[in-house]
Chain length 140, copies 4
Amino acid sequence: MNHVILIGRLTRDPELRYTPNGVAVANFTLAVDRPFSNQEGAREADFIPVVVWQKLAETCANHLHKGRLVAVDGRLQIRSYETQDGQRRRVAEVVAANVQFLDRAGEARRTTPTGDAGSDASDDLGGDDFGEINLDDLPF
Amino acid sequence: MNHVILIGRLTRDPELRYTPNGVAVANFTLAVDRPFSNQEGAREADFIPVVVWQKLAETCANHLHKGRLVAVDGRLQIRSYETQDGQRRRVAEVVAANVQFLDRAGEARRTTPTGDAGSDASDDLGGDDFGEINLDDLPF
Amino acid sequence: MNHVILIGRLTRDPELRYTPNGVAVANFTLAVDRPFSNQEGAREADFIPVVVWQKLAETCANHLHKGRLVAVDGRLQIRSYETQDGQRRRVAEVVAANVQFLDRAGEARRTTPTGDAGSDASDDLGGDDFGEINLDDLPF
Amino acid sequence: MNHVILIGRLTRDPELRYTPNGVAVANFTLAVDRPFSNQEGAREADFIPVVVWQKLAETCANHLHKGRLVAVDGRLQIRSYETQDGQRRRVAEVVAANVQFLDRAGEARRTTPTGDAGSDASDDLGGDDFGEINLDDLPF
DNA sequence: TTTT
DNA sequence: TTTT
């Protein structure tokens, strides 16, 4: 069992790429407020990397932008890689199974001058919910 | 909202330390099986760092050992620190609010020759459950 | 382990009462969309009873109203009671540990003509988050 | 969003049935310990109905028995039905997407004299995990 | 109705 | 590096 559930805001627009096999993958970071204040009385946040695959990746890239509030559920994955000088480094990220919009498209600040979340008819949200993917079907 | 729920086995005995203010903190890593197999048909695992505070830290240090199966719930925290050569590095860890034993003490392989989980009377487990701490009371 | 996490909208204003010992308790029902459509292609919802205790109950009663979108986390409780004709009946409800506002107060339809969520200074939300209570402190 | 995560013990063996369309469905109840003690100092439990569909239903029926410890994740569903005298009644149950074994088959008390969880080769557990189903594929 |  |  490995479940992560987050509510937070995107710190930047999602980045959409494709694997050599043509599988869509999108990355973004969520700013998630901590449940307490620090010694200076300020509310800090955790900046949590999220990765999304397949159709959900394209839907996120089409509709999500910096500042949007979303709920993400998925699993916590630790990827291990080697740096150029041979050091082992780990990176943690949440592999999202589901992403749910929590504010209306018009409210978030738009950062891409040419994009238009409203006019894209290539995927139908069916409400605020991006639908769910089966984690077992993921290409990795 | 920031919730993480894991079931996995400790890769090593917990490490117990104390902050300068005398607050107990324990660290261990959980091996959590992934829900699918890789291309070679092998079941991989994520190795997820867990940190536990206060009385729960001491209870974990007293009763948990390498190989024990536990359920952890908490929140995902991203800590940022600087290396000696001035690089910014990030580390993700699960701050546990609750840890639940899922196998009997006798089943797990013991790694510390002198330790004795059974004879420590300083904390009473009241069953398999370590109890719950309030994340808002944590000293950080 | 018993964790429930919901995102949904209040079907009515919360009802606030007090136990004989003076402990505040609020009840409301959340409409939570199901992740799929039924045979007619319509999206149904589950109507899930939520109970909130102590200060969190008063904060919910002061600030939540019919139609508001919230995230709730807590545990699933099955209460058993006897009807007047001696039948045993069960009721399930989510005992909330935390409630998080997910839309601004002005957006939701107001149903109480005299209430004013904005002018109540008796509790400070400190943002959108009601804070967290310790389930172990609950009076039942 | 609607997520439930439970760890508890089966109060009875699962009941396996088939819908008119031949879809397998299994029911069982989990006893989930509450995180606190009542006024008499006793630890109570919630008795939570769980429903499992399709292949996972048959796997549960084949391998789970009264007393087994499992972790369940799924969603909370409120079904509404009418009694013979025309009253509207609600029943809550957790629709499981995943069920994970948390103790070995040999440890739990067996209640069915002829059953043999070990000799059934019709489904391979691949460890302790029943695999995951996609809630969107469910036949209801 | 209930599990350990 | 970061969101409101």
